[in-house]
């Protein structure tokens, strides 16, 4: 035994790093095991709590400027609201005439963005809200500008949101003008690609892309982005269509989590 122990002791540094490499490979290939999920949950809870405190402290210094901007926005929205009230009343009158029943079958849960995924490639957001118990994994995340992504991990009051710039993200989208369906994915830089659009279909720069609703994750008609360039490849079946995201992923402070209300729940 002694020569073996001596050998291990002599090369203990190399053995240790080899062990780390092997463990890393095991973790990479077994992402859904309870051990790995548990590790993710506890890290998310601990770091979420700490980051929330740091985020609160750092946001304090920008409060005056934020307050001014919000007051300006509030005034603009109040003005728009007055104008929309007339339209709403008219809409309700017309719906009554047509015997339409107006029902909202979802709620939007506000969540604070407390950080980005701490990697070179930003693929997710760390969210914090006390209402996370209401939502389930894969709930869609949005802002007033459009679709952000979906929830991939929940732990206590904290969640990880996979944004559309994640290499694994795929969203079914449709072109607003001609209803053509395609697949939205990351373009490798800071934008999106609309894939699976045949060369024979006309797509124009400026076309708006919405979520198609043909998915159990993303609701229909959420704005995804605007087409900024179209390339037709003669050697390929599909066009290469670059899309500018509707949401600026670098400047998100608050998002909303889409929570469909189940119709069989009491009180709905």
């Amino acid at each position: 035994m002694t020569p073996i122990l001596n050998f291990i002791s002599h090369y203990h540094q190399a053995f240790l790093v080899t062990l780390y490499v092997i463990l890393s490979f095991i973790f990479i290939t077994s992402s859904d095991t309870p051990l790995v999920e548990g590790m993710r949950s506890s890290t998310l809870t601990i770091f979420g709590t700490m980051q929330e405190q740091v985020d609160d402290a750092s946001s304090y210094f920008g409060l005056e400027e934020e307050n001014r901007a919000l007051r300006k926005e509030n005034t603009r929205l109040a003005y728009e609201n007055h104008q929309l009230q007339d339209a709403l009343l008219e809409n309700i009158r017309l719906k009554k005439l047509l015997q339409f029943e107006y029902k909202v079958n979802y709620e939007l849960i506000p969540a604070k963005v407390i950080g980005n995924s701490p990697q070179n490639l930003i693929t997710g957001l760390l969210l914090s809200t006390e209402e996370l118990h209401k939502i389930e994994k894969n709930a869609a995340v949005m802002t007033s500008e459009g679709l952000v992504g979906k929830i991939v991990k929940i732990s206590g009051d904290y969640a990880i949101c996979q944004i559309m710039l994640d290499p694994n993200s795929r969203v079914s989208g449709k072109v607003q003008r001609n209803r053509q369906l395609g697949m939205i994915k990351w373009d490798g830089a800071n934008g999106l690609l609309l894939d699976h659009i045949p060369n024979t279909v006309e797509i124009l720069v400026g076309d708006v892309i919405f979520s198609s609703g043909y998915s159990q994750i993303y609701p229909a008609n959420l704005k995804i982005g605007v087409v900024n360039s179209v390339e037709t490849n003669t050697n390929d079946l599909f066009k290469t269509i670059y899309v500018t995201p509707a949401v600026n992923f670098n400047k998100l402070e608050e998002v909303f989590i889409y929570n469909p209300i189940k119709t069989d729940e009491p009180g709905n």
């Binding site: 540094q13 780390y20 790995v36 980051q51 995924s117 701490p118 990697q119 991990k153 670098n250």
Partner: protein
């Protein structure tokens, strides 16, 4: 537990955790072209490796890498692997007693290899060419991280100097 191990744990807990939080909260504000950004966690791993040696360096890289991975949508281990190797390599400089400019040249190589390995593993999930990743991400991030390493090392030198 000896004094050196206690000091290592203190540095890992303070600088390590602070670096993960900085990477998450503040680094997006210093991005260039919304793509290039330094890896603050790697900087701390390299400095810990240089100060404490290969065993502590690779452990710091592995632990901080796992924490980073746990807070992302990526598979756990994808950052831990290159960071453990970078910490190990940096620790070897401690054994060889390297100092000055030569140290930084080695650091540049380790940062490049770290980025290369990270994106090499990741490319199996990407549908873009690896050549494009090399010049659009790996080279710029290596330069940016090196600059930040120099700034960090200059301002925190007393904590990472060999006894």
């Amino acid at each position: 537990m000896n004094q050196e191990t206690k000091y290592y744990l203190f540095i890992l807990a303070t600088f390590g955790i602070a670096s993960v939080m900085l990477q998450s909260i503040f680094v997006p504000y210093i991005e260039i072209y919304d793509v290039w950004k330094p890896d603050v966690v790697l900087i701390v791993v390299l400095l810990i490796g240089k100060r404490f040696g290969s065993v502590y360096g690779s452990t710091a890289g592995f632990v901080l890498g796992l924490i980073q991975d746990s807070l992302t949508t990526m598979p756990i281990g994808i950052t831990a692997l290159p960071k453990a190797l970078a910490g190990y390599a940096s620790g070897k400089m401690n054994t060889l007693k390297m100092e000055g400019t030569v140290t930084f040249l080695w650091f540049i190589l380790f940062i490049f290899l770290h980025e290369f390995l990270f994106y090499f593993i990741l490319q199996f999930k990407l549908e873009i060419s690896f050549t494009y990743i090399i010049y659009s991400r790996i080279f710029p991030n290596t330069i940016y991280t090196t600059v930040m390493l120099w700034i960090t090392y200059s301002s925190t030198q007393k904590h990472f100097e060999n006894p």
